[in-house]
């Protein structure tokens, strides 16, 4: 592959597409809006193609894992039929990919969602366990977190607010002042970083994702 196709062409395409999406945000015009909408449609198409490619890569990767380590078979032989079943129900049974079908929804609600609910509740216990075992006050940030977390947790327990009514306004203050202030600061930092990465990409200077071999 020539250097132009591998490196220069993606940068040119990124620049054109980036400008075509950015300009209509500030300067609305029917033609520019139509171009933006068309690019949006293509983004969806490309994304879905990459998901399909990812499925192929993932299957190949699992197959290689199985060849390297036969003990993996127990997991793969269990998961692969389920993957095939979901693909069949999601794409073939109600062609083309009607995921609101009763069969697909049954699988989603009773298998996938149940598993996710179980998983999402687990970190709660891990958090408490970690708070007890792993939490060490090594810095001012960690001390502030411990103090704020402790006061806020006590505020959530009726017995403590009954015994110490002052915990109520303290807990509210923690949530509404330092928490909101910190959250906004972090959000602004993320936004500014995204702008800088975007501008660097448009300028063709964001090489992290295209210079790897």
């Amino acid at each position: 592959m020539s250097e132009f196709v591998r490196r220069e062409l993606p940068l040119v395409l990124i620049f054109i597409c980036g400008i075509a999406v950015l300009v209509p945000f500030f300067f609305p015009h029917p033609f520019l809006n139509a171009v933006k909408a068309e690019l949006g449609n293509w983004a969806v198409i490309i994304r879905n193609v990459t998901i399909f490619l990812g499925l192929i890569y993932m299957s190949f990767s699992q197959w290689r894992s199985l060849q390297r380590d036969k003990s993996m078979g127990g997991y793969i032989y269990f998961v692969a039929p389920y993957l095939a079943l979901v693909l069949f129900v999601g794409t073939a049974l109600a062609f083309p990919g009607y995921i609101n079908s009763a069969q697909y929804q049954w699988l989603y609600q009773n298998v996938y969602r149940a598993q996710v609910s179980m998983y999402v509740s687990l970190p709660l216990f891990y958090c408490y366990s970690a708070a007890y075992r792993a939490f060490t006050v090594r810095s001012i940030e960690a001390f502030a977190l411990m103090l704020g977390g402790m006061l806020y947790t006590l505020r959530q327990i009726p017995l403590f607010t009954y015994l110490f009514p002052v915990l109520l306004p303290i807990g509210e203050w923690i949530m509404l002042v330092p928490n909101v202030g910190g959250g906004r600061g972090a959000t602004i930092a993320v936004g500014l970083a995204a702008i800088v990465v975007g501008l660097r990409t448009l300028a063709g200077r964001e090489v992290t994702t295209i210079e790897v071999r």
Partner: protein, 261 residues
């Protein structure tokens, strides 16, 4: 004419374009850029790699089950994490430690992570240290990711655990598991809502935007450092708006109508 309600966005964008151009130009011409202070968590990666060798345990690197996002506003975290990955790979190659990389669920991240690791090993002159078996892909779900990562700690041990990038609730289990199995935890995310978990469970924390600074500091790339300097300009602008807004509101000006422009 500019769309109503986007005037301030436009001003910020123009300012950021000017700042990025100014600092990038300086970087490309080799001029001096603002210095990034020493970040303890970055130093700790070196310490942790040495510790792993002494304990004869592998170093682990993970950037989140959803850490390979290249299409959202979180992309900057992915890029910073990739830079820290490169740094970690180079240190492991230089000092001779085994590194296990847990690849994020986004399939587009697989070639990216592999490519970064391959390049880093090549840069250190040790391409033979690249082991495909130590680049683990655990599927597109935080459920499988966390359990697989924690399982790897249990089976193969952990000397240093580097977890940086886009993390959701998937950070809790690996951090705790690493601690249980004696690993040194170094990590952080710029996602505010998960900062508490890293503050609680890491030995060395990258708090918020320290992640970007760390990524730039270890990148050996002046353009990345120029990006951090540009962000500072944006922050000063936001701070200025905040102060001016507070003063104007105090004297009775309706800021809502001004920011609705």
């Amino acid at each position: 004419m500019i769309r109503t309600g986007t005037y301030w966005d436009f001003i910020l964008l123009v300012l950021m374009i000017a700042a990025v151009y100014y600092y990038m130009d300086k970087a490309l011409k080799g001029k001096e850029l603002p210095r990034i202070r020493t970040i303890p968590a970055v130093e700790a990666i070196y310490e942790g790699v040495g510790r792993s060798i002494e304990l004869d345990k592998p170093v682990h690197f993970a950037m989140g089950a959803s850490g390979g996002q290249l299409h959202t506003s979180l992309v900057s975290m992915t890029l910073a994490a990739l830079m820290i990955l490169r740094h970690t790979v180079k240190l492991c190659a230089r000092l001779g430690s085994r590194l296990i990389i847990h690849i994020p669920g986004q399939t587009e991240a697989i070639p990216l992570v592999e490519g970064i690791a391959r390049d880093a090993y090549l840069e250190e002159g040790k391409p033979e240290m690249l082991r495909r078996d130590d680049m683990r892909y655990h599927g597109y779900a935080s459920t499988s990711f966390t359990q697989a990562v924690a399982g790897t700690y249990a089976r193969e041990g952990v000397g240093l655990n580097v977890m940086v990038g886009i993390w959701y609730t998937d950070c809790v289990m690996p951090l705790e598991a690493s601690k249980i199995y004696g690993g040194l935890n170094v990590g952080g995310t710029a996602r505010w809502i998960m900062a508490y978990a890293f503050a609680m469970m890491t030995d060395y924390l990258l708090l918020g935007e320290e992640l970007y600074a760390a990524g730039a500091a270890v990148s050996d790339n002046p353009v990345m450092v120029s990006g951090i300097a540009s962000e500072e300009i944006g922050k000063y602008f936001v701070l200025l708006l905040l102060i001016v807004g507070l003063v104007l509101m105090a004297v009775g000006v309706n800021m809502g109508s001004i920011f609705a422009m």
